[in-house]
Amino acid sequence: MRAPVMGAGFEEQNVKYMLLMQFSAATADFPSIDTWSPQEIQAHIGFMRDSNAKLAADGEMVDGQGLAGADQARIVRAGVGGAPVVTEGPFAETKEFLAGYWIVDCETPERAVEIAAHLSTAPGPGGHPLNMPIEVRPIMSAPPQEL
């Protein structure tokens, strides 16, 4: 065991990560889910359900949500006097689209990568793994050290 040192950072504390299921024209290299067969969709949903159950059983799950489709998106900016100015989707210029996310609480950064890699293998057409891109980002939840 490493000698403990005040302010040693949190190599040994759990860290929360957000795993972003983010697609763009470049990375969504598989046909849209609208074209999949019912069995293919079922398999995909089953995989996600099992994965989430496993994360919960492992004591790592904090949250996991899918986001409604891009055509339900609104872009909001404050206009005159702070009143919302809303732009409806879908947005042709949207380069990246967030389809869903997980927040996991992991003992090591390697573990977060491992979870992301597993989620990446969610099955798609023909039951083959999609190998979709999952972005892994640490969440700012570390307690501050005295400076």
Partner: protein
């Protein structure tokens, strides 16, 4: 009784004792732990309304014992468990243990539980959760809140930790004398991690973590009371007390971090400082000296300085050198480099930091950039300081720290009437 605080304190103190009794009697730590939790919950709801029972400990043992029998029964009914079948079956004719029979083992039981919950076979996260529940008497909900995870997730973590203890066959007894020191290191390390996690007083959701540092101190006090002759246990307790003493001054009204040098020292907890200083002063000569005592001695020197300028940096530097000799790590080297700068000037400090550049354990670590920024600022090289503050801000995972580093960079960048330091892209 309208104040439930004393009830909570009493329950937390009694929790490991009752757990020890039930574990001994049934030989099943995992189930006993669940039974004790339920007894604690029953007491937490009933005692504040009905008043304290004559014998609170006996009351908890009775309730826990009855619950234990129910749990074992339902477990046996669910599936014939061989490990339980091998043990004596609980039966109704046996009454619950007389509450006063087991007092002699209470102290040992609490210690045994600490060793058990902090066993090296468990990951730090598992050990922390289990220790807080089984020894600290906290509920799963409280622990989940402190670590900001859902209660169900924390419950899984605790139950897996207990499963791990079961499958590893770790016995409920004092570790062998030859393993004792390594096992105690593990206990101290877990308490230290709990303290570190709560060592903050920033606003917002992090506020709850303050309770964790208090909880860590409470557990360290218990360990020190059980092992008064162990100098590292005393050192850890002193380190916690001396660090916590500064916490009222560590954040400003908006929750912003205030660096040690800029803290209003009148807001430090003088009584805590006196206690911590006394403890480490009495402990150091006894020996053997270890990393917790050295860090406590450093904390004491900071706490005893009436102003930042009066800090005894030469002594602190000497202690970091001892610490580095004792347990070298890049973080110790970093702290030593900062102390070097305070004694021999920022250039010497930067030289010392340069040695860490090639250390893979520190690459990308925001603390290295922050230390460098601080030393360049001392040196008067604002441009490089700002760059390093910004680099540190981009790499920390603590929000209050990021705010602090960004502000520091921004203030430095606008000092010069010639205009701000441009952001390098």
């Amino acid at each position: 009784m309208n104040d439930i605080r004393p009830v909570e304190d009493l329950l937390r103190e009694l929790a490991p004792q009752v757990l020890g009794v039930l574990t001994r009697r049934f030989g099943d730590f995992a189930t006993a732990e669940d039974a004790v939790q339920e007894a604690l919950l029953a007491a937490a709801t009933q005692w504040p309304q009905q008043g304290l029972p004559e014998n609170p400990r006996g009351w908890l043992i009775q309730v826990g014992y009855r619950r234990m029998i129910e749990l074992v029964r339902s477990e046996q009914a669910r599936r014939k468990r061989e490990d339980l079948a091998a043990r004596r079956e609980p039966d109704d004719t046996r009454s619950a243990p007389a509450a006063d029979l087991e007092i002699a083992t209470d102290r040992d039981d609490t210690l045994i539980l600490l060793f058990l919950c902090c066993h090296p076979a468990l990951s730090p996260a598992s050990a922390i959760s289990l220790t807080l529940r089984a020894v600290g008497g906290l509920t799963t909900a409280e622990i989940a809140r402190a670590f900001m995870v859902p209660e169900a997730t924390m419950a899984q973590r605790i139950s897996r930790a207990k499963q791990r203890i079961k499958t590893s066959g770790i016995p409920f007894r004092m570790p062998d004398p030859r393993d004792r020191s390594g096992r105690l290191d593990a206990v101290l390390h877990v308490l230290y991690l709990i303290f570190n996690e709560g060592h903050t007083s920033s606003g917002g959701p992090a506020l709850r973590r303050v309770e964790l540092s208090g909880e860590a101190i409470r557990l360290a006090r218990a360990a020190h009371a059980l092992l008064p002759g162990d100098s590292e246990v005393a050192g850890l307790l002193a380190l916690m007390i001396l660090t916590e003493a500064r916490s009222p001054a560590r954040t400003g009204p908006g929750g912003e971090l205030i660096s040690l040098a800029e803290q209003d020292r009148s807001r430090w907890d003088a009584a805590a400082i006196a206690e911590g200083v006394d403890l480490i002063t009495r402990t150091l000569p006894v020996g053997p000296v270890g990393p917790y005592q050295i860090q406590a001695a450093i904390a004491a020197l900071h706490d005893e300085a009436p102003t930042a300028e009066k800090t005894d940096w030469p002594q602190i530097l000497a202690l970091y050198e001892v610490l580095e000799h004792h347990s070298a790590s890049p973080v110790v080297s970093l702290n030593r480099a900062v102390a070097t700068a305070m004694v021999h000037g920022p250039a010497a400090g930067l030289d010392a930091l340069a040695a860490l550049d090639g250390d893979p354990r520190m690459s990308g670590n925001h603390r290295l950039y922050a230390a460098r920024a601080h030393l360049y600022e001392m040196l008067g090289d604002r441009q490089t300081a700002v760059e390093n503050y910004r680099a540190a801000a981009g790499r920390t995972t603590s929000l209050p720290e990021q705010h602090y580093l960004r502000l520091r960079a921004a203030r430095l960048a606008v000092v010069d009437p010639a205009g701000p330091v441009p952001e390098r892209r």
